[in-house]
Amino acid sequence: MRINLPVVVAAAFLLAACSSASDEGADAGSDGTSTTPPPISDTNVAPVQPVGAAPGSQLDLEINVGDRVLFGFDQSTLTSTGRTQVERWADWLEVNQQNKLLIEGHADERGTREYNLALGERRANAAREYLVSLGVAPNRLRTISFGKERPAIPGSSENAYAQNRRAVAVLDAVTN
């Protein structure tokens, strides 16, 4: 049995970090897609590029591009805000030709486990299909569903549920 966990763990940490950032952010939007970069708490040396957010990096994706789209309850159709966000991913992939994306699909906790796995798959695929329609090569894209297993925000609140119904783009470190 081979286990390759680092990708998941890293993603979970980053998601948590990003989520709290978007909580404080001005724009949660009607479907919650945050396009406002969170406040940069770092130094006055590099005001434009936060340290670590090298172009084409995971941090670049999260901070400067936006790494997630949100969905309505039991929905897997991209909203107009969601489509705009996915278009930004397409632009980013156009600039960063070496990059591949893993798109994670997630659901809130108010569904049964297996149905939510299927729903997460649908959400991830909705983003994937739109990227392909925008010209991204399919072999640069993978999807994975976590169903309700990896909420971005803990707790049983409508706000948490809205943030957890999401597809998240992660720089795909796995090469097969």
Partner: protein, 450 residues
């Protein structure tokens, strides 16, 4: 991973010798009967004195066996073991007719008299009689010989025999539960494949928590578990051999495979396969590894479960606009919806081992319910409800269900407290099954082969 030796020991050494079911008179013992189909059942008072030790070495196990029998019977909700401190006398021995005048004042309807001794080669040898106190008649008896380490199974088998004799239903105490242990914060729960006896004893973790694991289910022989694991960050259905600890991925699919269950004959695993975002139900023959696709609808089709005769499959689909239950023939033909009550979403259907009912999770008015309906969709009854109750699984006798229950959690994710519960098919006797940490996705083993 689990210890292979431990497993092999558990399996191989349990060569139980059932010597005799006794030649009992078949007359006049029909009075004592618990009708399990009734609503609010008054538990039957039963006296379970310590077993009589045949030697000094057997003293502890003689007490322990009686305690486990009493616990099993009590937890079923159908029996009320009488407090031992109220006993007016102790049984003198198997060969001695009980002094019934000492048991009638306690209103003991039934009395168990048992003996336990260790044989020269260290084997545990037990024998018991079940007596109808007011009819003053023996009802059943059993002699069991096995390794001392199997004493709990001996107790469960005796409890099964008592339950069967008095209720007319098959016992379910000599069974196990496979489930998922949960620790850690909500955003990155650590989930571990776990196994225990139905009463929570002999608990073991079967995985170390490195990979996310979900929805384990037993094979009909109890030798294997099929479940979903995220090894290498790829959610796939695996087959896990409990005896050897070895496992293998089932099939080589480009997309996620999930929601696996064995067919009743154990030769096939039915599961969902996601392709381009769409989930359909497929069945794999474990011998040929050939895969057949059973649903082709552009909707979510998942959570398949076979009828016990293997001829039909119940599953959930949102093809009608919301998550509902459907039944189809095992070849995929005649797909038809069976859940119609307005305002409810239905999921996780599981066909009863008796074939007469389908258990499900229902989401309605912001609450989750565990319920049952007939295979044609009629006779819906809701048994349990809560903020989140999910994932029913049947005891092999089709009389008891287990599921998991979660509470609302606060903004820090605290308070969720996911736990396992069992409930009688009547909706009575909801009981927690105590687990070391939080728990979800229980699956009851089939009846053990005896």
């Amino acid at each position: 991973m689990l210890s292979h030796i431990e497993n092999l020991r558990r399996r191989a050494i349990f060569l139980i010798t059932i010597v005799a079911a006794l030649a009992l008179p078949t007359i006049a013992h029909a009075q004592l009967k618990v009708d399990v189909t009734g609503g609010n059942i008054e538990p039957l008072p039963i006296a379970v004195p310590d077993f009589i030790p045949g030697d000094a070495q057997a003293q502890k196990v003689a007490v322990d066996i009686a305690a486990v029998i009493a616990q099993d019977l009590e937890r079923s909700g159908l029996f009320a073991p009488i407090d031992k401190s109220a006993f007016l006398s102790q049984p003198a021995g198997l060969a001695v007719r009980p002094n019934f005048v000492n048991w009638k004042p306690l209103n003991a309807q039934a009395l168990i008299v048992g003996e336990a001794k260790l044989t020269a080669d260290g084997q545990l040898s037990t024998d018991f009689r079940l007596w109808d106190v007011f009819a003053e008649q023996p009802m059943t008896g059993l002699s069991l010989t096995t390794s001392l380490s199997n004493w709990r199974r001996v107790a469960h088998l005796i409890a099964d025999a008592i339950y069967e004799r008095i209720t007319g239903e098959r016992g379910y105490f000599d069974t196990r539960i496979v489930y998922i242990s949960e620790t850690g914060p909500a955003e990155k729960k650590i989930k571990r494949l776990s196994i225990m006896d139905q009463d929570g004893a002999n608990h073991r973790f079967l995985s170390n928590g490195d990979a996310l694991v979900l929805t384990p289910r037993f094979s009909p022989t109890q030798q294997e578990i099929t479940y979903l694991a995220y090894f290498n960050n790829q959610p796939r259905v695996y087959l896990f051999n409990i005896d050897t600890g070895e496992q293998e991925v089932l099939g080589d699919f480009p997309g996620m495979t999930f929601a696996p269950r064995f067919s009743p004959d154990g030769n096939q695993v039915i599961m969902s396969l996601a392709e381009n975002g769409n989930s359909d139900i497929n069945v794999m023959d474990l011998r040929t590894r050939q895969v057949r696709r059973l649903t082709t609808h552009p909707s979510i089709d998942t959570s398949p479960s076979y009828s016990p005769d293997g001829r039909q499959i119940v599953f959930e689909s949102d093809r009608g606009g919301s998550q509902q239950l459907y039944v189809m023939n095992a070849d995929g033909s005649n797909q038809h919806r069976i859940s119609f009550k307005a305002g409810g979403r239905y999921g996780t259907p599981v066909w009863s081992p008796r074939g007469d009912l389908i258990a499900f999770t229902k989401i309605q008015s912001g609450l989750f319910h565990i319920g049952v309906m007939r295979p044609d969709g009629s006779g819906e009854r809701l048994l349990a409800k809560g903020f989140l109750v999910e994932s029913p699984t049947w005891a092999p006798n089709g009389r008891v269900l287990m599921f998991f229950k979660q509470n609302k959690s606060d903004a820090k994710g605290n308070g969720r407290n996911s736990r396992l519960y069992s409930i009688d098919l009547t909706g009575q006797n909801e009981r927690e099954i105590i687990t070391p940490v939080e728990a979800s996705d229980p699956a009851w083993s089939p009846a053990s082969s005896r």
